[in-house]
């Protein structure tokens, strides 16, 4: 009996947090690396970070819905605490959080990926 190999690749539907973490860090560096906290610009920065991150994720072409969340906070001694909770399919869905800081501000970016039923 001859074996028939269709030659099709199996599309892997698994969330890869390390890869995403690297691309998000580059994105943040590109937008606010080397700048100080500036109240008039922070609005554009957060919008820019989430848009670039999302564009990069969508380009990968995987069957996921994405939510990208970015918080920038000025360093002035205030306390900040964040928490996330997710009700999803732990086998296919996942999240990744990147913490970045410089001398004058903190930046926290969270990416959530939810698999789409094909």
């Amino acid at each position: 009996m001859e074996e028939f190999n269709s030659g099709e690749e199996i599309l892997q539907v698994v969330f890869n947090p390390d890869e995403i973490s690297v691309s998000v860090k580059e994105c943040v560096e590109g937008v606010i690396g080397g700048t100080d906290y500036n109240q008039s610009k922070v609005n554009q920065w957060t919008a820019s970070i989430v848009e670039h991150s999302l564009t990069h994720l969508v380009k990968q072409g995987r069957p996921f819905k994405y939510i990208v969340n970015c918080t920038i906070m000025q360093k002035s001694g205030a306390g900040l605490h964040t928490a996330n909770s997710c009700y999803w399919d732990t086998a296919t869905d996942g999240s990744c959080t990147v913490r970045w800081e410089n001398r004058t501000m903190y930046c926290v970016v969270s990416v959530f990926a939810v698999a789409v039923a094909l």
Partner: protein, 118 residues
């Protein structure tokens, strides 16, 4: 005949992401957890966890066919600036989000709920 059509349209609306219901759930959860308390570094961890868990259990009790992602940020009021942005890549006709900003004399609390249809 008119009554049947109204009931069907109400059912279809209720099956989707209803912002008012979710907003109420979030507000009650935050009030019950933080209430009039001041920012306490050693308790804020429990507060964020408690808020997201309460919200999640109330939302799953709604019994809708959704996956949920809940984010909670608690910040001490001391003059620091903070900016948050989110962007989502999903199905506009079925998915939705709701963000509640709450404050008392001592803290700000921002809770976001994202609902993705299965």
């Amino acid at each position: 005949m008119l009554l049947e059509r109204e009931i069907t349209s109400w059912k279809r609306h209720k099956a989707g992401f209803v912002v008012e219901d979710v907003s109420t759930i979030i507000k009650e959860s935050v009030e019950a957890t933080i209430g009039g308390n001041a920012y306490q570094h050693n308790r804020v961890n429990q507060w964020t966890t408690s808020i997201v868990e309460q919200c999640l259990s109330q939302l799953s009790k709604l019994g809708k066919p959704f996956k949920y992602i809940i984010t909670c940020v608690i910040m001490q009021k001391n003059g620091a600036g903070m900016q948050t942005a989110s962007t989502c890549f999903w199905d506009n006709s079925t998915d939705g989000s709701c963000t509640v900003r709450w404050e008392n004399k001592f803290v700000y609390c921002i809770v976001s709920v994202f609902g993705l249809a299965i």
